[in-house]
């Protein structure tokens, strides 16, 4: 860790003339306002993306964003300002602004600096440079050709490759001095197929915290191209979806967006501190069927939602949220943990230096259960089998949530039959979780495309689950029986 810290200081601080003495000077100014926690968050992120359509790589872009977020916390109050300029004048001004909220609290001395000796969850090398630009362009062309080869009905292909590399360093008055280097790559394929007058779209994507070889090597890209075309062709045959309450079987992997919406957000510490979540004050209660154990785990190697340390310098961990249906605890950042008198769970995340950190998910998934997936489908006489989803949303106060199926089938007499058009499923999180009656033994994590939005801030996340049977969810099709 100390080598990494030195690397990041060299990269982030040295070009701007910043060093530990100057940063400590800023921290002392911040603490003059009698604050409970003072924090400086330094960040630089480089991103590059390339996109192909109409068979040519027609666009590419590159960006560099850097700055420092300055936060002062006093009781329940937070003051926040940031500077894109690492010069002392701009940083001093941001520091003065952030501490303007402080009117109470303990005079803090900075604790002795200490860095977490957390394990590294990904490589440090810059993924943008991990593949020559000419090879990136060639990769996009290869994916385009692969998609078109799948079927003559493929009429449009869009491919996008993106990579980013982030340096972050956080120092806080509790003694935190921690740094991280974070790679992230992603490849997305979207196709349109046409038959007669009908057109349908299919898409697939994947990636993680790794170098571009992850998506460029082996059959990764080919599998995405095949998957995008397959889902589009399935939807060409889709009939109108049913409307009303039904038994729904959810496939493994990405359908875990169910958990992200139905329980994940409702178990974030801030909503529970404020009593605004349907799960507030329910630790120790049965909130899901006994088959359900749900965790948030930021430690998985190379996953899109993983972090070696969170944005407050706390090592990530596996946090058990629900165990055999019983609510065990919430996801916490430092601020909410302090006010709720519990430890941080390493879930303090922020979109960038220009945003305040808050409790956020990393990789959230359900552990496998006892049932064979085939047995689950065979147990349903009349229902829906949903295997792919667009996205979801939750109202954490009432608990109602939606997620939108993009590939789904009818189940008739224990067999998966006709594909149905995309439909939104709606339910109430705490109710739906108690209606999970079968859990498969086939846990899968998603392919690495999740983006979670909260209070206007986006962060990359992972989801996952085994095959699940929910005894009743409202299916929002057009065919009311």
């Amino acid at each position: 860790m100390s080598d990494l810290l030195a690397d990041v200081q060299e990269q982030l601080w040295a070009p701007a003339g910043m060093d530990l003495v100057r940063a400590e000077g800023l921290m002392s100014q911040l603490l003059e306002g009698l604050v409970d926690l003072g924090e400086l968050f330094f960040q630089r992120q480089k991103s590059q993306s390339w996109s192909l359509e109409d068979g040519i790589v027609k666009d590419g872009s590159f960006s560099v964003d850097q700055g420092v977020g300055v936060r002062a916390v006093s009781g329940e109050r937070s003051g926040f300002a940031y500077a894109e300029d690492l010069g002392m004048a701009a940083l001093t001004s941001a520091t003065q602004a952030a501490r303007s909220i402080a009117r109470q609290g303990q005079q803090r001395q900075v604790q002795a600096w200490r860095s977490p000796d957390g394990q590294r969850r990904y490589m440090e090398a810059d993924p943008i440079g991990s593949l020559a630009d000419a090879d990136k362009v060639a990769l996009l062309a290869r994916v385009d050709a692969l998609a078109r080869q799948q079927d003559p009905r493929v009429s449009e292909v869009n491919v996008r490759l993106s990579a980013s590399h982030e340096y972050m360093l956080v120092m806080a008055s509790d003694g935190t001095l921690a740094a991280d280097i974070r790679p992230l790559v992603r490849l997305d394929v979207s196709v349109i197929v046409s038959q007669g007058g009908r057109r349908e779209r299919g898409s697939a994507g994947g990636g993680g915290r790794s170098e571009l070889a992850l998506v460029a090597d082996g059959d990764f890209a080919e599998n995405l191209a095949k998957e995008a075309v397959r889902t589009a062709l399935v939807n060409l045959e889709a009939r109108d979806a049913p409307a009303g309450p039904m038994t729904v079987v959810l496939g493994p992997g990405w359908p875990g967006v169910l958990l992200h919406e139905a329980v994940g957000h409702g178990l974030e510490g801030d909503f529970n501190r404020k009593g605004s979540s349907a799960f507030a004050g329910r630790v120790g209660e049965q909130v899901a069927s006994e088959l359900c154990t749900v965790v948030d785990d930021g430690t998985l190697q190379g996953r899109r939602g993983s972090l070696s340390i969170d944005d407050e310098g706390i090592a990530t961990q596996e946090t058990v949220l629900i165990e055999n249906g019983v609510l065990k605890g919430y996801m916490q950042d430092k601020h909410n943990a302090r006010l709720m008198n519990v430890p941080s769970t390493g879930n303090g995340r922020r979109q960038s230096f220009a945003h305040l950190p808050m409790p956020r998910m990393t990789n959230t998934f359900m552990l496998p259960g006892p049932h064979d997936p085939q047995e689950i489908i065979e147990s349903v006489n009349d229902g829906v089998y949903a295997v792919n989803f667009g996205g979801g949303q939750v109202d954490i106060t009432s608990g109602r949530f939606v997620f939108s199926a993009t590939e789904a089938y009818l189940i008739e007499n224990g067999k998966v039959t006709a594909p149905i058009r995309g439909a939104t499923l709606i339910g109430n999180g705490p109710e739906v979780m108690t209606r999970i009656s079968m859990v498969g033994n086939d846990l899968q994590l998603d392919g690495g495309v999740g983006v979670c939005g909260k209070d206007g801030q986006s962060v990359p996340v992972g989801v996952g689950q085994p095959t699940l049977k929910v005894d009743e969810v409202t299916v929002g099709g057009t065919q009311s029986s």
């Binding site: 390339w50 040519i56 790589v57 027609k58 666009d59 590419g60 872009s61 590159f62 960006s63 560099v64 850097q66 329940e76 109050r77 937070s78 003051g79 926040f80 940031y82 500077a83 894109e84 602004a97 303007s100 630009d133 362009v137 449009e156 869009n158 349109i192 046409s194 009908r198 057109r199 349908e200 779209r201 409307a243 009303g244 404020k274 009593g275 605004s276 349907a278 305040l356 667009g390 996205g391 979801g392 109202d395 106060t397 009432s398 109602r400 949530f401 939108s404 058009r421 995309g422 439909a423 939104t424 709606i426 339910g427 409202t474 299916v475 929002g476 099709g477 057009t478 065919q479 009311s480």
Partner: protein, 448 residues
């Protein structure tokens, strides 16, 4: 202390110089054409929750983006750093991208003769001389009014006051450089109510370019409280097909899906359910969608679009028929048409049609669903298939009967746009799409 805010107008001359410097660097590095946009924003927001100051956040950003063209190849780059060294590196990064992209016959700047010669003053800049202490007091008054609205309002997610200034300058190698300044001020309140059937939340907000046009703190708070209390103890309804009345806030999204479907990017990618709709009837014949980019002080006003093309008033849909697509120069070339001055989207879209009072609308609906909230992304822009989570109120005998929740509404949008029965007289003037309530004949409603 930045409680007395900077004035971004003072930056405009510097930003114009920055645009010229970046364009000169692009030319020096061999670009045959280039375009640059620079933005500077400054402001703060203050949140009060349960009577106590919760957050004070200051923001101040300056960033630029450049696109360089080397013949028909292009590359883009952006950064938050405007130092001389960063300009050089960023132009170089864009130039490097353009070495690897492929010839695209449609790429390039918009035509020079389309740029405005003179820029009208659209009256968009009205700074608010507001300190953070005053903002805190306003937010506190707002929340107090909301909490007092109903005894069942038991919790709050806070009231927020925000003031923002921005300056945007765009220039390209045709020699066009244009800039404009704007302000946006807002106040919002989110409340939580609870009764024996659980908790519900709702909110209200006011947004304007002029502080004097904001609704009062008391009004915002009590409206948030009234809405939250009205949602308590929701029921379900029988699954079936019913008339749907969208509030203006929900109608804006409903109209937005149509604008997306007649936008150039979706059309040339064949990713629209309204392909080849120019000259075709796609909405009920009393409905007109008119763009008014040059209105004084409106939220979406702009004298030029994202590539410097002068904006102009026009109809996208006139008496139900598509009269113009929504095009920038690139999508226009892909479709063999001319740009409509809509690079970056529409600027103040006004929805007009057969208008009734809201009471008359409810009366005409008789029995059906008033939708006040929609959830999720269940709109397929290729097929027009629409299925979203909804909540609102059940309407019986032309009057609101009780709150309903955990519903979905579904249909194909092509059918629904032609089934618009009437509009209300309650236009929401806060957004870029200015629409009243919209009554449609029928959609499938699913419920437990």
């Amino acid at each position: 202390m930045p409680t007395a805010m900077m004035d971004v107008r003072e930056s405009e001359a510097a930003l114009k110089q920055l645009v010229s410097d970046i364009l000169a660097e692009a030319e020096r590095q061999g670009a045959s054409a280039a375009e640059v946009s620079v933005n500077e924003d400054a402001g703060f927001s203050v949140t009060v929750r349960k009577g106590e100051l919760e957050t004070v956040e200051f923001n101040q950003d300056r960033g630029f983006g450049i696109t360089v063209y080397h013949g028909q190849r292009k590359g883009s780059a952006s950064t938050s750093d405007s130092s001389a060294a960063a300009i050089k590196e960023t132009v170089s990064a864009a130039t490097n991208i353009a070495r690897f992209t492929e010839e695209d016959p449609c790429s390039g700047l918009a035509e020079a003769q389309l740029m405005p010669v003179e820029l009208p003053d659209l009256g968009l800049f009205h700074p608010w001389s507001l300190g953070t202490d005053e903002a805190e007091e306003l937010a506190r008054q707002c929340e107090v009014a909301g909490l007092a609205q109903d005894a069942r309002i038991v919790n709050s997610d806070g009231a927020q006051v925000s003031t923002q200034q921005s300056c945007r300058v765009y220039g390209n190698s045709h020699g066009f450089v244009g800039g404009f300044n704007g302000t946006r001020h807002s106040m919002s309140c989110v409340l939580i109510g609870e009764d024996e059937n659980g908790m519900q939340r709702d909110y209200w907000y006011t947004l304007a370019r002029e502080p004097s046009k904001l609704e009062s703190a008391q009004h915002v708070g009590s409206e948030a409280g009234r809405r939250t209390a009205a949602r308590l103890s929701p029921r379900g309804i029988a699954t079936g097909r019913y008339p749907i009345l969208f509030t203006p806030q929900m109608a804006a999204g409903f109209i937005g899906h149509l604008i997306g479907a007649i936008s150039g990017g979706a059309l040339y990618r064949k990713a629209s359910f309204l392909l080849d709709s120019l000259g075709e009837r796609v909405m009920s014949e009393h409905v007109t969608l008119r763009e008014r980019p040059l209105m004084h002080g409106w939220i979406g006003s702009a004298a030029f679009d994202g590539e410097g093309v002068a904006t102009r008033e026009k109809h996208f849909v006139n008496a139900g028929v598509v009269e113009n697509y929504v095009l920038g120069s690139y999508s226009a070339r892909k479709l063999g048409m001319a740009t409509t001055g809509n690079a970056g989207g529409v600027f103040n879209l006004q929805v007009e049609g057969r208008t009734l009072t809201v009471d008359e609308l409810l009366g005409e609906m008789g029995q059906g669903l008033l939708v006040t909230d929609l959830m999720g992304q269940g709109v397929n822009s290729v097929t027009g298939d629409y299925s979203r989570g909804a909540s609102g109120f059940w309407v019986e005998d032309g009057a609101i009967a009780y709150p309903v929740d955990e519903l979905t509404i579904a249909a194909n949008l092509r059918d629904v746009y032609c089934d618009i029965v009437a509009l209300g007289d309650d236009v929401d003037e806060r957004g870029n799409i200015r629409t009243p309530s919209i009554l449609v004949g029928g959609m499938t409603v699913a419920s437990q």
